[in-house]
Symmetry: C2
Subunit: 570 residues, 2 copies
C-alpha cells in the first residue's frame, strides 16, 4: 500500500474535545471517521486491524470446536416475544415496522436466533455439546456513547452460543471458552487484563464472567483481592468489612432541626457517618405503586445492581414529593408508610448506638440497637464494596480498580430453551431443555482497548499480531534518484514477505517520521542518501524505540527475525 | 469437522412449496434455515462457502488497489437528505427513530457514506483515483423475496466506490473492475454468465452493467445478439424491428361496439394486432394530477423501465374510473383530456392504415397514417424488445434469455459528490466535484447462483474453490474396528492438508452416500472392510461421478493432484 493513495488524513493536532487516548489517536492517525453520535466509519488501517482480530478470534473459536454460522441482524418480533425480551429490553433495542406493518427489531444479541436455528435441527443428546458462533454487526442504541470505539451504538461482535445436556458438562465447556478468551486477548497483544465475576443483567442465568482491561478510563469498577486473587465486578462483589463499634445506648428522640443529610446530621451531633442509618428510596420500573426503601449505614453506598437483582426490577432514585415520607428524617423504627418495600443492608447487622430519622420533621432517634430494636429484620448484601474492605473469601483488604469490559461469558441455563420450547431426547427416552452458555467479544472495542493500552505520547503502538501493516517503509529524500530507485525496489521485495506501508510522499523527514509513529506501525525501515552510501537501512522498533542499522542484504532476514520474536512474545 | 456434531439436518424429501433447485438443496442439505420471509440464518456449511467467496472477492478487489473499509449499517437521515435519496427511495428502505427521536435508516447502499468518508479527507487530485470497498450486511425490505437466497431482504454485500478526476480515467478504472468481476465469477466457479448493459435505477449516473447468470429461473430478461455480441438488460435494450406494412387508407370512424381490448378489436375487424394502436395509461408516483398515456403498436408491450426514465418518475398502470378517458376506446387523434402527458413509441413511426380508438364509446377510427395525421409527434423508445427483433447494432435477430443479476457496476458521475459538496483541488487551482463509480456483488446470491448452476438431481456440486470442505471422508461399517481405526487415522492425516468433513456416524452406507452427494462436497474418500483389505480407498469426484481406487499410501498425493487440477480449471 502506498500512503499517497491511502484514504485518510494524519492530523498534527489532538482531536477537539476528545480526552481518551485511543479515541484521539485513532482519529488523528486516520483510522476512524465519526458519522454521528456513537456511529463510525472505519478506514483501511482500522479495518485491517479488525480483520486480524477476527482471524485470531476465528482460530480460537474453531479450536474449541466452534461452528461459524450467520444469524440475521433483523429479526421478527415473534422470536423475541417467546423469550420475553421484546418487552423487557428498553430503548437500547431498535424496533421498527417493515413494509407489511410487521414488528421487527435489530438484534442486540442472538440467543433467540441460536435456539431457533438449533431447535428441531438438533434432536438428540449425542449431538451435544456443540457451539455455534458468528461475527457480525450489532446495533445497540446506547444512551451515552463515549470514548470513540469503547462505547458505540454500532459495532462488530463475535457472539457464540453453546448447548449442553447437563450442568457439569456445561461448566467444563464454559471453562474451555474462558481459557480460549484468555488466549485471544493475549494473542491480540493485550497485557493488563483479568477475568472477573459479573452480573448476568439482561442475559439471565446465574454464573457470568467479564474480561476486563484494567485502565483508568474504564467505566467499570472491579474489586480485587491481592492476596487470594478474588476478582469481581463492583456490581456483584460481595461486601465484607470490619464493623465499627459504637457504645450501646437507650433509644432517645432528639431535635436535629434542619439537619437532613448524613453530613449535616453528623456535623450537628458531632458523630461519624458510620454511626448513622441512611435511608435511600427507589422507584421501581414497571411498578408505579410501591416504593423501595433501603436502610444502609451512613458511610456506605447502595449498589443499585445488587438492588435490581433483589427486586427483579430496574430502579431509579425516587422523588419523594407527594409521598408520605419525611425527607431527611426517614427512620427504620416505626416507618408506617403504605406500599413500601423495606430492605436492610448487611452493614447494619449487629450495630448498636446508631442514629436514624424519627419519621417526623426536625427529629432523629439515637441509640438504635438492631439486635434489640429490630429483631426480625433480614439483612441483605446491598452495598458497594469500598477500597480496603475485607475480601469475602480470605478477609484481606481489597483494592478497587477501573476497567473496560472486553469480553463476557454467561452460563444461561435453560432460560431460552425453555421459553422457546427447544427439547432434546435423552438416552432414557425423556426430553429435556438443553442448557446454554453464551460468549461475546466486541471487535472494535478490542481494537480500541489495545490502542488505549498500547500507545505513548507520539501515537499508537500496534502489537505485531494485529498491526495494519508490519512495516513502514520510509525513504527520506525521494528527490534523490538513488533513494527513489532503491525505495521502489524495497517496496517490491519487502511486499513479497511482509505487509508494507510505503511512504511514497515527497514530504519532509519530520512529517514522515511523525506519521510513522502516530500510525503505530511496529517496524520502520528508513533509507536515506546517507544510509544507502553504506548500503544500509535503519530499522526502528516502534515499541522500544530501538534502532538497528543493517546491511541491505541482511534486511529481510533481520525483519523476519524481529517479527518472529515479537509474535512469539504474545 | 465431524458430521455427528455438525448443526443442521439433511432431509430426504424436497422442501415444501419450493420450486427453485438451489433453494431446495440448500434447505435439504442443512445450509439454510428460514427465520421469516426473506430472512435466513446460515448454517456452518453455508457460512464456510460465504467466507471463501469473500476471500476471493477481497483478493480481486485488492488487486485493483481497493482499500477495504467499513461503513455503518445504521446512518442518520441528514446524510441521505443531502443526496435526496431519503425521500426518493420507497418502502424498501427501513427508516426508524432512535431513542433521541432522531431519524435513522438502514443503508441499502453506501454512496453517501463513501462521500462522507472521503470528503475533507481526500483533498487533492493527486490522491485520485482510489477505490474503497466493504463487505457487510445490508437490509432491503423487498416486496417479494423469492427463491431462497436469490432475492432476500437481508444479505451480505461487497460494495465498492471509486473516485476519479476525469471521465477517461473513470472509464479506464471501470473497465478494470469489469475485468475483475469476470475473474471473481470465474474463480467462484460460475460458468454461464455474461455482462450486459443495464438500467441505472435508483443509483443515478449514465453507464451501468449487470453481470448475469443465464438461467431459466432468472427474474431478468436479457436481450442478446448472437451475431455481434450486443447484450443488454430488457430494461434498457434498444428496440429495433422490421416494421409491418399496412395499406394506406383514408380516416374513417367505424362502429366497434363492445370490442375494447386489442384482441377483441382485431377479432371484430379481422385485422392483425400490428395494425392497431394500443393506449396504456399510467399513474405517476408523486404526481396525483397527471396521467401518462403511451401509444404503442398493438403487438408491442410497454417497457416500464424505459418509461420511468423518460418521465423521471415511478409509474403504475392507472385505474381509469373517474377520469375522462373512454376505456377501451382511447385514441391518438383528438385526445383532449386535461392533465395528460401523451407519449408515442417508435413502433408507430411511419405506420399507415392503423386502427385507433375514437375517444367515444363503441367507436374506433381506421386508416391512421402517422406521417399524414400526426405530423409533429416525437417518437420515443418505450417498447420491450421481442425475440427475433433486430439487433440495434448489427440488425441480426436477437435472442431473449433469462438471468439472475449476480453483480452490477455503475458510472455514477458527480451525482453524489455534487449533492454532498465534495470537492478536490485540481493542478490549475480550480476545484471540481470528483466523478464516482460503484460496484456491487451480493455474497449470498453468488452462493445461491453457483448452487443453482452447479447441481444435479442428487444435490449440490460445489466448485473446489468455494466448497465448504474439499473432502467428505466416508468410512462404511464403522462397527468394524479396522475401519474405525483407519478412519480416525485418515481424519487426522487428511485434515493436515485438506478441509475434511468426516462422516463419523454409524448409519447405513445408503445414508452416507446420499448425504455426501446432497451436500455437494467435491471429493468423497470412501473406505470399507473390502477396500482396506486391498489397502485402498475409493475417491469419487462429485462433479463427474468418476471413481478412482487408490492405494492408501498414494491417497494424499492423488487428492492433491485432483484438487490442484480442479482449482486450475476455474
Amino acid at each position: 500500500m502506498r500512503i499517497s493513495k491511502l484514504v485518510g488524513e494524519r492530523l498534527k493536532d489532538n482531536a477537539n474535545g476528545v480526552n481518551v487516548k485511543s479515541h484521539n489517536f485513532l482519529l488523528r492517525a486516520g483510522y476512524l471517521k465519526q458519522v454521528c453520535n456513537g456511529i463510525f466509519s472505519m478506514l483501511t488501517p482500522a479495518q485491517l486491524v479488525n480483520l486480524k482480530i477476527q482471524k485470531i478470534i476465528r482460530e480460537e473459536m474453531n479450536k474449541v470446536s466452534g461452528q461459524e454460522v450467520l444469524f440475521p441482524v433483523v429479526m421478527p418480533r415473534e422470536m423475541w416475544d417467546k423469550s420475553g425480551r421484546y418487552s423487557s429490553i428498553g430503548a437500547e433495542m431498535v424496533r421498527f415496522k417493515d413494509r407489511n406493518d410487521h414488528d421487527m427489531l435489530l438484534g442486540m444479541t442472538h440467543e433467540e436466533a441460536a435456539v431457533h436455528l438449533c431447535q428441531n435441527t438438533v434432536k438428540s443428546y449425542d449431538q451435544l455439546p456443540f457451539m455455534i458462533y458468528q461475527i457480525q454487526t450489532k446495533f445497540r442504541d446506547e444512551a451515552r456513547p463515549r470514548a470513540g470505539l469503547i462505547r458505540v451504538r454500532e459495532f462488530t461482535m463475535k457472539d457464540a452460543y453453546s448447548f449442553h445436556y447437563d450442568k457439569e458438562e456445561l461448566k467444563s465447556y464454559y471453562q474451555k471458552v474462558y481459557d480460549s478468551y484468555n488466549r485471544i486477548f493475549k494473542r491480540i497483544g493485550m497485557k493488563n487484563f483479568i477475568a472477573v465475576k459479573s452480573d448476568t443483567g439482561m442475559m439471565g442465568g446465574d454464573v457470568a464472567h467479564e474480561f476486563m482491561l484494567l485502565t483508568d478510563i474504564g467505566e467499570d469498577s472491579i474489586v480485587i483481592c491481592p492476596k487470594c486473587g478474588y476478582k469481581a465486578n463492583m456490581e456483584v462483589a460481595v461486601a465484607n468489612e470490619e464493623k465499627p463499634v459504637h457504645k450501646d445506648e437507650k433509644l432517645e428522640e432528639i431535635f436535629t432541626g434542619s439537619a437532613k443529610t448524613i453530613e449535616e446530621v453528623c456535623s450537628y451531633l458531632k458523630i461519624n457517618a458510620s454511626q448513622t442509618v441512611k435511608a435511600v428510596c427507589y422507584a421501581m420500573v414497571g411498578d408505579d405503586k410501591n416504593t423501595a426503601v433501603v436502610f444502609i449505614r451512613g458511610d456506605k453506598e447502595v449498589n443499585e445492581a445488587k438492588l435490581k437483582r433483589i427486586l427483579g426490577k430496574d430502579v431509579a432514585v425516587k422523588d419523594l414529593s407527594e409521598t408520605g415520607f419525611v425527607k431527611g428524617n426517614i427512620g427504620c423504627l416505626d416507618l408506617n408508610i403504605p406500599n413500601t418495600i423495606v430492605l436492610f443492608d448487611n452493614s447494619l447487622a449487629g450495630m448498636k448506638g446508631m442514629v436514624t430519622g424519627s419519621n417526623k420533621e426536625g427529629y432523629h432517634t439515637k441509640g438504635v440497637n438492631f439486635e434489640r430494636d429490630l429483631k426480625d429484620v433480614k439483612f441483605l448484601d446491598i452495598s458497594k464494596v469500598k477500597e480496603g474492605d475485607k475480601c469475602p473469601i480470605c478477609g484481606a483488604p481489597v483494592e478497587i480498580k477501573r476497567g473496560i469490559e472486553i469480553g463476557n461469558i454467561f452460563q444461561l441455563g435453560t432460560k431460552y430453551t425453555k421459553a422457546m420450547d427447544m427439547t432434546i431426547a435423552m438416552p432414557d427416552g425423556t426430553s429435556i431443555n438443553p442448557l446454554m452458555a453464551c460468549y461475546g467479544i466486541g471487535v472494535g472495542r478490542a481494537l480500541a482497548s489495545v490502542a488505549e493500552e498500547s500507545c505513548d505520547d507520539k501515537g499508537l503502538i500496534w502489537p505485531m499480531s494485529i498491526a495494519p501493516w508490519q512495516i513502514y517503509l520510509c525513504p527520506l529524500r525521494l528527490d534523490d534518484e538513488t533513494v527513489a530507485k532503491k525505495a521502489e525496489e524495497l517496496e517490491e521485495s519487502l511486499s513479497e514477505k511482509f505487509e508494507v506501508l510505503y511512504d511514497d510522499r515527497k514530504v519532509s523527514a519530520g512529517v514522515k517520521l511523525t506519521d510513522s509513529e502516530l500510525m503505530g506501525i511496529p517496524l520502520r525501515v528508513l533509507i536515506s542518501p546517507r544510509s544507502l552510501a553504506n548500503d544500509e537501512a535503519e530499522i526502528t522498533i516502534r515499541k522500544s524505540g530501538e534502532k538497528i542499522m543493517v546491511k541491505l542484504e541482511d534486511l529481510t532476514q533481520t525483519l523476519e527475525k524481529i517479527i518472529k520474536e515479537e509474535m512469539e512474545a504474545l
